[in-house]
Symmetry: C2
Subunit: 238 residues, 2 copies
């Protein structure tokens, strides 16, 4: 049972061209946890712009961050530029070694993979990037939220809400997570079906796949390079 | 049918002690609309802190804002301090008069009410504030998202995602909204039931009601004062 009297340090990485909802969704849930400090962390104390232009401002730097109980790794376009960034990868490695949980959202899983912390870990990510997970030695699972030991991973963007409620329950308890869910009135009712590739209209899915093609080609090239660096053998046909 | 060649101006009000997800949820959906500019608007170009501490930075001021096609009015604790703020209320009145749609999230509906634009409008808000809507002449409806003419309203916090997808479909078309929903992988799967007062565990609901009691007393006193200003007769027993 978690010790409720322990003050929790939660930290999320922010970066240029992040997908802001990968951070703000989990922030909404986890900043409600009692007896907790939520840090928004980057290399420097300078505002960054998300992929669509929203300005997010760090509350602290990697260098000054306390040991975290929960490390949150969001994704978004800008993840690609960090896949060989040793400052970011070392921060993920160091903090995840001591944290109780590491929680990736969307393509944040690729950053965790590049940091080398996903070997043998059952893990999920955005549907468009799912096939890249095994380049990092992870075991891709087709789930919206996956929990494997200390690793919590959420699929694309909005799955961060579901994952964050799971994290809240793990860090505290179900009762606390349920109270947060009620206060956020999280009883979703999407106006359409088709929020995943399994349920989407084929035409809509094909248009989305075409849209992701350029970034996915870049991500695949990067994943191959990282696999080589990590010494992971991939059977690309397999 | 909406004119897809028309560039859309979308603007969301940001303010101190906003509930950040009321803004960032809809931002995530609506900033994906093609041929659109998304403005984050406040009185001044200064960063503000959300209720839980997240720093949000305006992209423009009320004074410099273009005529908006969609005005977004988020809620959160800080809404209460703006209920008699003529700068904010006048901005809501002026923009909503010309906008195609006005979209309130959570207690943003109370701000729209204070601006006097909800008379006779079927409307929803966070469950804890639902009983206050009639003080503004609105017709409260027990729905997660309500659409009445140009007025779109979402219930508490996370309902902003469902409302934003409805807004995307209204501003453009269903196909575009479906593509956005797939790219955000919005096929929610909350880990618990009980995200609304209708489904919550009675104990969890009672704890939440107790938590909201102080702010609700303040909001009721404000709603009564605003009702008087607007000349709206309320039968408090009714």
């Amino acid at each position: 049972m978690p010790d409720l009297t322990k003050h929790l340090q939660i930290g999320a990485i922010v970066f240029p061209e992040i997908d802001q909802a990968d951070l703000t969704g989990p922030f909404e849930v986890l900043s409600c946890l009692p007896n907790t400090t939520f840090h928004v962390l980057w290399k420097e104390m300078v505002p960054v712009r998300d992929f669509r232009g929203l300005i997010l401002t760090p509350s602290g730097t990697f260098a000054a961050a306390p040991p975290l109980d929960l490390l949150i790794v969001p994704g978004g376009r800008g993840q690609e530029a960090l896949m060989d960034d040793e400052t970011v990868l070392a921060f993920i490695r160091t903090q995840s070694a001591i944290a109780s949980y590491v929680f990736s959202i969307c393509t944040g899983a690729l950053l965790c993979g590049a940091a080398g912390i996903l070997r043998g870990v059952r893990c999920t990510t955005h549907w468009s990037a799912h096939h890249l997970l095994r380049h990092f030695g992870a075991i891709p699972v087709d789930q919206r939220v996956a929990v494997d030991g200390k690793h919590i991973s959420a699929a694309g963007v909005t799955a961060g809400l579901d994952g964050a409620l799971r994290a809240a329950a793990l860090l505290r308890n179900d009762r606390t997570a349920r109270q947060i869910q009620l206060s956020l009135e999280y009883e979703p009712d999407p106006p359409f079906k088709g929020g995943s590739p399994h349920t989407a209209d084929p035409e809509v899915l094909e248009a989305a796949r075409a849209w992701y093609r350029p970034i996915n080609e870049a991500r695949l090239a990067t994943a191959r390079r990282v696999a080589q660096r990590l010494g992971i053998q991939i059977n690309e046909g397999g």
